[in-house]
């Protein structure tokens, strides 16, 4: 055998090999205690933070694999919302007469909604099935499970960046000014990210427990679009219903994004309500995820 121990030594590397355990371990506290979890044990965010490199690698993997062996590559990130925009313009703008409700050319208006909605819908779609799709990981190796649905959402961010470029192109193409308030766009992209993580995490856990959600999720997203101001402006909702309507976590991101890009006044009331709803949903989702997480390996 040509295998010499030195060529594959476990000793090389940046940390010294623990040939002896830390002093005073006898009787010392264990590093990890495994026992049946009873009651509330927190959201586990510290452990999540410690595993952030894995989150990065999983996002990187998803992005890399998604565009490998595709002819158009990242162009898909532009193509999909662009086609949706054309359809919206024809169906809602022309046939539905929505074009008269808005101040800017309808395609620009529609795209400013599709931008974050498209990200949200794709991210939630990926995220909701992510645990099932990663069952081989869940049943073979331990890491904070929350990484999986969050990584699935994160992998949509590159697409969002690319499709934002088309937004700029549209503004310039229609001769509309890029407003200084557009610097707030990343903030609303951030709240959309929070909403997507909340909904995606919740659905991913529900999908493992009840496979019915695999079928339900798609339908839910489809319906959700119609109760979000994607194809129509927020103003189209009567005043007295508007705050109730804003409990929808995607109202804030879409309305805020549109205002920042098209230079309209920010509807701060609905944005505040929607963002609060989004954060509450995220906390609820993480709590539920945490409570069923320990059973994943047994039922996935």
């Amino acid at each position: 055998m040509s295998l010499s121990r030195s060529s594959v030594s476990l000793d090389d590397g940046d940390r010294s090999a623990p040939t002896s355990p830390p002093e005073g371990r006898e009787g010392g506290a264990p590093l990890v205690v495994i026992e049946a979890r009873r009651g509330w044990k927190g959201l586990g965010l510290h452990e999540f933070w410690l595993s952030r490199e894995l989150l990065y690698f999983l996002v990187w993997r998803d992005v890399k694999v998604r565009y490998k062996q595709t002819v158009l590559g990242v162009a898909w990130a532009v193509l999909q919302p662009a086609v949706t925009m054309i359809l919206f313009t024809l169906v809602f703008g022309r046939l539905g007469g929505m074009g008269r409700l808005v101040q800017v050319p309808y395609p620009v208006f529609a795209y400013s909604g599709i931008l974050l909605w498209g990200f949200f819908a794709a991210a939630v779609g990926q995220s909701s099935t992510s645990l099932l799709a990663s069952s081989h990981l869940v049943s073979k190796v331990y890491f904070p499970r929350l990484i999986i649905p969050v990584a699935a959402v994160g992998s949509g961010l590159l697409d969002l960046v690319v499709s934002s470029l088309l937004m700029i192109g549209l503004l310039l193409g229609y001769g509309l000014p890029v407003q200084p308030r557009a610097v707030l766009f990343p903030v609303f992209a951030g709240t959309a990210l929070l909403s997507a993580i909340g909904v995606g995490t919740l659905l991913s856990a529900l999908t493992v427990a009840y496979r019915d959600f695999r079928h339900l999720s798609g339908y839910l997203i489809q319906t959700w679009m119609f109760v979000s101001p994607v194809a129509y402006p927020l103003d189209a909702i009567p005043d007295r219903w508007r705050l109730l309507y804003s409990l929808n976590p995607m109202v804030g991101p879409i309305a805020g994004c549109r205002s920042s890009l098209l230079g309209e006044a920010f509807p701060w009331g609905p944005i505040a309500v929607s963002t609060t709803a989004s954060i509450l949903l995220l906390l609820l989702a993480m709590a539920y995820f945490r409570s069923v997480e320990r059973r994943f390996a047994d039922i996935v």
């Binding site: 055998m1 295998l3 121990r5 060529s7 594959v8 030594s9 476990l10 000793d11 090389d12 590397g13 940046d14 940390r15 090999a17 623990p18 040939t19 002896s20 355990p21 371990r25 006898e26 010392g28 264990p30 590093l31 990890v32 205690v33 495994i34 026992e35 049946a36 979890r37 490199e53 894995l54 990065y56 690698f57 999983l58 990187w60 993997r61 890399k64 694999v65 490998k68 062996q69 081989h136 990981l137 869940v138 049943s139 073979k140 190796v141 331990y142 890491f143 427990a209 009840y210 320990r294 059973r295 390996a297 047994d298």
Partner: protein, 432 residues
Amino acid sequence: MAAPMIRAEGVSKKYRIGARETTYTTLRDSIMAMAKAPLRRLRQLSGRDEGSPLIWALEDISFEVRQGEAVAIIGRNGAGKSTLLKVLARITEPTHGRVELFGRVGSLLEVGTGFHPELTGRENIFLNGAILGMRRAELRSKFDAIVDFAEIGRFLDTPVKHYSSGMFVRLAFAVAAHIDPDILLVDEVLAVGDAAFQKRCLGKMDDVARQGRTVLYVSHHMPSVTRLCRRGILLEQGRVRMDGDIFQVTGHYLKSDLGTSAERRWHDPATAPGDAVARLKSVRVLCDGCVSDVMDIRRPVTVEMEYWNLKPGAVLVSGFSFLNDQGVHLFVSCDWFGDQGNEAPKLPGVYRSRCVVPGNLFAEGQVRVVAEVSTGHPVYQIHFLEYDSAAFQVIDSGEPGSVRGRWGRPIPGVVRPALEWETSRIGSGEAA
């Protein structure tokens, strides 16, 4: 005395067998069951359904492993070995009990967990390393060592879907071997890879143990278990049956299994299995003339029994059936089969029947021998039919001459005959 690294106290794990197991007989039943199913599922998930059957995969397991120990967990399929490893690896939670781990744990429950076929070898090293819990900086510094160990050289930037199975396994093990944990949990990893690579994997694990780390190794493969570990824990139906010196434990395991081994004798014709016509005296399994628990898959296996014929003029047929450890009946053979059938009446006395099973026929794993002597004519009547009269382990180390050869993946099936193969190009494939 070295410090404890793993301390398990009263670990139990209960599984609920789902409704999947029940079979619906009539349409009405199945419709009713369908109507009730969502309700039952809800009850199950909320933990209130006490109706469906429970299985204790682990029951009250306690043990302590100290620093630098290499411990083998052995037991039959379903004894709870893998469940125990999953609990220690934090993949599944115990129902009761507590485990304390005094160090960083690396678990190797499968080679290549999280490998993505579309990604290159280089990319998979980083991805897989991160999944196994390595930091990026750590991975970078070990990268060259991993590539060296895997011997993938110029294929480093090729998607792993184009790798041969051997290369794939080598790369996957190379990453895992560099996790550098204080406690290493390994599950049957050595069931893959060719012989040379298996030896290297064993060597690597040996090194890990010798450097003062702690290794917990689950395997069916007795030769590697005894080579690697000094101590064994035998699980039986979810309980610790035996914990101690590896040779005692493996010896017990190979015999245990319902008290069978490669040789068994009955000394008293009054109590031996059988009746007034014939009684079983002994059964043994030999390889190259020696009684052996462990058989090289390439070598013929000689199975012989001795029995007392107590009745003058009995027309006896003796035969063996072979079962695998799942209880699947592999085949039966008796001394009346073929052209040499010995159907003559027999004088009283002690008889020996021997048959030779050719090499490269049994699959890997345990084989249980059923010995039978019956009257074959005019009426068929069984005198004894002794299940588990002997048992042996078939091992395919992948050396030249075995079916495995350089094939690195599991080989399913209850037999593993060596067959002749020929594949050749017979035309261009274009329409004439």
